[in-house]
Symmetry: C2
Subunit: 308 residues, 2 copies
């Protein structure tokens, strides 16, 4: 499926904006990126260079044209689609979206990479509310396929969904808005219990992390929690699981912890992470993670291409 | 590192016992498996045949000897290590461990693949309590590296830890026992929020699953939640994350849901999973999962071998 939009306005060229730009460029789309900081261009171009080499590894060889501007009007001129990536401040987003709304023809879709604020709070000052959607990526969007979509007009959401799918992304659609969307809420739920186990002295930070990435985390790269419990139910699947083990699952839920991130727990977490990092810097750890991530994504692509 | 034990008694040869047996055999250890059901031998040998071909794919070429018995005394005769995999019933486990305790020399370690019962409840009738540990695998243990260890004697736990590591497993040590150990509690925490989002009509079962395996799940195959938030903190790492975003994390925690698995929610879950499965049988889904799992494990092994 060919992307239906050819020229993309990217508003805000920090890490998220730069990562989106890379994905668009790798699929042959032209990008006009705007940032108010005049020194943002260098950071953007550095990021894009590196990201494009990763995307080439994954088999994407498109070559769109990248331009940069410090004038927002230029980034909204003659574009087919806008991806907005301003800082996560509700009031700032609200003003910015209204400004974008004024400048653009009413049928151009504007997708906001918004994480914390909910959609209804940031579109209040827009006249053409329906064209605004939240399209929340998981960092970095040029590698991680998830995009969470929230909108009010089904046709607009469907168009955006098709567009992201044409870029190899895996968009999911929220039927109603929710603080934290889906993925951040699930991450937060996992983290809460992970912190509780540290608070309660059950295991070290390193062992709790190891339990995830050598255990259930291996499955979660392949299938989500619902499908996992479906397969956990044996031949009877999820229906059997719920009718036989539903009550003990609810008992387990009731036993999960609600830790507090007070000074003592924070100290335990910081010490535990330092022990786990074992002298490796953030940059080294990120490189390790991205090397694995890229390899897993290459693998998935090969297996999906093999199935197609 | 060579495994320090050569002849392993496997008590209970169902799916978990058969999977453990396969792992031991692939590392060149001899296995004497016991099951009270005389027709269990065929199921065991079928399982082992298939599992050994998967393990050969992963580069394990050892060839231990497999024997089967319906007499428990034979499976405890002259063995260096015992892996117990009886059904998850506390009273049954308690009697069985006491029986094993009587029959074995006091220095042989007995590892119980116990998931639900806690260790202190099942060793009560044993004279040599210290030699009993919980060694809870994540199914199937011949593929998934995680083993959760709980014991009372540090030296015994350390010996078991070394043994599992020599088989390529990734054991983690609980400092004190906890219902559900680590991984099942974390899975349960993730599932609770996943069910809540279905209950609240935020997204479909399929989209919630897709959000995991195309988003945070990809990272969790590489690193656990603590390290993930460490990298989420930017150059300041987890200390910066906690001091700046700790309060909003706690606010998020307070907003997470506590769903009930009542009939209405069960119906939504069953329908949603059927939609996601899209006609694929449990067996087909399992095959898909295991094909991906094996590929990810092969990849990790290559990358780790490359680092060594």
């Amino acid at each position: 499926m060919e992307p239906q939009f050819k020229r993309i306005g990217v508003i805000g060229s920090g890490i998220i904006g730069a990562s989106w730009s890379s994905l668009f460029l790798a699929h042959g789309l032209d990008v006009i990126a705007y940032d108010p900081a005049s020194d943002a261009e260098e950071g953007l171009r550095d990021f894009v260079r590196q990201a494009l080499s990763q995307l080439t590894d994954l088999g994407y060889r498109g070559q769109g044209q990248l331009s940069f501007t410090t004038e927002i009007s230029q980034a909204l001129d003659d574009v087919d689609f806008v991806q907005e990536n301003a800082p996560e401040k509700e009031e700032l987003k609200r003003r910015l979206l209204a400004q974008i709304d004024e400048a653009l023809p009413p049928d151009v879709i504007v997708a906001s990479s918004t994480s914390a604020p909910v959609r209804s709070h940031i579109v209040t000052d827009c006249r053409n509310k329906a064209r605004f959607i939240v399209a929340h990526p998981f960092n970095p969007p040029h590698l991680i396929p998830l995009v969470e979509l929230v909108g009010e007009d089904e046709a607009v959401v469907a168009q955006a969904r098709d567009f992201y799918m044409s870029l190899g992304q895996k968009p999911v659609v929220l039927r109603r808005e929710m603080q934290g969307h889906i993925a951040n809420r699930l991450s937060s739920a996992l983290y809460r219990e992970a912190v509780y186990l540290v608070e309660q002295g059950v295991a070290s930070v390193a062992d709790i992390d190891a339990a995830v990435c050598n255990g259930p985390g291996l499955r979660w790269a392949v299938m989500g929690p619902h499908m996992t419990y479906h397969l956990g139910g044996g031949p009877g699947g999820i229906a059997h699981y719920l009718s036989h083990l539903g009550p003990s699952q609810m008992k387990r839920w009731a036993s999960l912890g609600t830790p507090s991130l007070g000074p003592e727990v924070q100290e335990k977490l910081v010490e535990g992470v330092a022990e786990e990092a074992a002298g490796r810097s953030i940059a080294e750890l990120e490189q390790m993670r991205d090397r694995f991530l890229l390899a897993i994504l290459r693998l998935r692509k090969e297996m999906q291409d093999g199935q197609a």
